[in-house]
């Protein structure tokens, strides 16, 4: 992964919120967010598949939006709020999308699953998927070589209203 900083090239300080925790880090400018998470912060739930933005295994949420961590330079995440697969469960309870993936058996080998789940959470936040067909289209940035697509779509379909309910409960009386 990242080379050692040659003379004259400085590491850059960044501050970010990672899974709810404030972090202050020093990063060489060529370190990707994916390598930062996996190699320096031991958050190996985010997977390296193609490393070219084509498979979606590295999908994480930046400021609530799903992105490919493999094509994101860590230095450009200064000030960002990041959520990885490790940050979705709260108080020991799985996220509604995680529960739906288990209930629908929406994986086989599981390698793409963290990216699929983060992508699905982002899809619900974005709020543009109102049909099964739209879910299929808007999950197209996540490949599953085992071919669990049918069950993935079913899981996302089931989790969507549960997530919205949870958001409404957290949002209080906002109707």
């Amino acid at each position: 992964m990242s080379a050692t900083a040659p003379e004259g090239v400085v590491e850059h300080p960044i501050r970010l919120t990672l899974n709810g925790q404030p972090r202050s880090l020093q990063v060489p400018p060529w370190t990707t967010l994916l390598d930062l998470l996996r190699e320096q912060l031991d958050l190996v739930g985010t997977k390296k598949g193609c490393d070219h933005g084509q498979c979606g295994a590295c999908t994480v949420l930046r400021d609530g939006k799903r992105i490919n961590a493999c094509l994101t330079l860590a230095v450009m995440c200064d000030g960002a709020e990041l959520v990885t697969i490790e940050g979705l469960a709260s108080d020991g309870e799985l996220h509604p999308v995680q529960r739906a993936f288990i209930r629908h058996d929406a994986f086989q080998c599981g390698y793409c699953t963290p990216g699929q789940i983060c992508s699905a959470v982002g899809l619900v936040y974005e709020g543009h998927a109102d049909t099964r067909e739209a879910i299929r289209e808007q999950m197209s940035g996540n490949l599953c070589r085992c071919g669990a697509y049918g069950n993935i779509v079913a899981a996302v379909e089931e989790a969507m209203p549960l997530m919205m309910d949870a958001a409404r409960r957290q949002g209080g009386s906002n109707s």
Partner: protein
């Protein structure tokens, strides 16, 4: 990745002052970071423009829209003003890339993604675009995805953007800031055909920054179609794509716009065919004639002859669906 230095300027003028031939601006990074990983591009210095505040979509005094260069592809596609008044642009953007990439990629960066092919990416092979003068293996090699229009002996790569095909059809204008002044480049002049200098994809100088894209007042809100033909149902580059837009009055075409993606080094707009369509009543015969005229100069390679027929049929279908209007043609297949 080859090490580089990183700078995050606070103003457009500072960003431009930092730029030279060995530097690159970075916004979404979806193409640039990938090219850097493959050592296809090795800048000494990255200039991060994400803090420059070029994030707005606002109305212009003449009834058009000015889109900041840093507006993400997703925000642009889903923007209510764009969806209502420039639905061709929304449809094109949503036909491209993946949701993750559209969240990251910027409007300006979409224009500046490299015209490319797999030989350009493979540093183990020659490529005139990557290393001028080294040769083009695509001409005699695998060239199924390559250009059929406007190519040269030096390069047969295609510009992969969907957004840019719609911007070409909509006659967008690119606002560019250089060290001395700002200039406005009509979209048709922004990207280049390869000629004997395929290393240059566009007309920008190394110290010029795209700051905004301007759209003229909307004309094609009802009769439009972005039709993308690709090897799988989603998330693949176009083999051929067509942006078709018509304004109709009393059953007669007033204005027509027609641009193709996946066929040339730049978005391929044909104003001669557009003129041919204007003043005519839409018909299958007219559209077939237009399609044949547009592809007259096509020069297919050994593996991509199918693109000529595919493009002709896609043009006829896109124009026909544009005539039918929003209800029939407004969804992406």
């Amino acid at each position: 990745m080859t090490p580089f230095s990183y700078h995050k300027p606070a103003s457009v003028s500072e960003a431009v002052s930092l730029a030279d031939a060995s530097s690159r601006f970075i916004a979404g990074g979806t193409n640039l970071v990938d090219l850097m990983k493959e050592n296809v591009v090795r800048p000494n210095r990255l200039i991060d423009i994400s803090g420059l505040g070029l994030n707005g979509i606002k109305a212009t005094s003449n009834g058009g829209v000015l889109i900041g260069a840093l507006v993400s592809n997703a925000d642009l596609a889903w923007d209510p003003i764009i969806q209502q008044h420039y639905p061709l642009l929304s449809e094109a953007i949503l036909a491209g890339a993946s949701p993750q990439l559209r969240n990251m990629a910027s409007t300006g960066g979409n224009l500046l993604q490299r015209t490319r092919c797999y030989y350009f990416y493979d540093t183990g092979t020659p490529c005139n675009k990557r290393e001028p003068g080294s040769g083009c293996p695509a001409r005699t090699g695998l060239n199924r995805i390559h250009a059929i229009l406007g190519a040269s002996d030096a390069c047969v790569a295609t510009h992969p953007s969907d957004m840019c095909v719609a911007l070409a059809a909509l006659e967008a204008v690119v606002h560019v800031q250089g060290p001395a002044s700002e200039r406005k480049i009509p979209f048709a002049d922004f990207h280049r055909l390869p000629g004997d200098a395929p290393e240059r994809d566009n007309q920008l100088a190394t110290d010029e920054l795209v700051v905004a894209i301007e759209l003229p007042p909307p004309v094609f809100e009802h009769h439009y179609r972005y039709l993308k033909i690709r090897d799988r149902a989603s998330y693949a580059f176009a083999l051929v794509s067509v942006a078709a837009a018509l304004s109709l009055d009393d059953g007669v075409i007033q204005q027509a716009r027609l641009a193709l993606g996946g066929v040339a080094h730049k978005p391929w707009r044909d104003t001669v065919v557009e003129t041919m369509l204007a003043g005519q009543a839409p018909s299958q015969a007219l559209f077939t004639q237009a399609a044949h005229t547009l592809l007259q100069g096509a020069q297919p390679l050994s593996h991509n002859g199918f693109k000529v027929t595919l493009a002709q049929r896609a043009i006829v279908r896109a124009l026909s669906e544009a005539v039918l209007g929003v209800a029939a043609g407004g969804t992406t297949p």
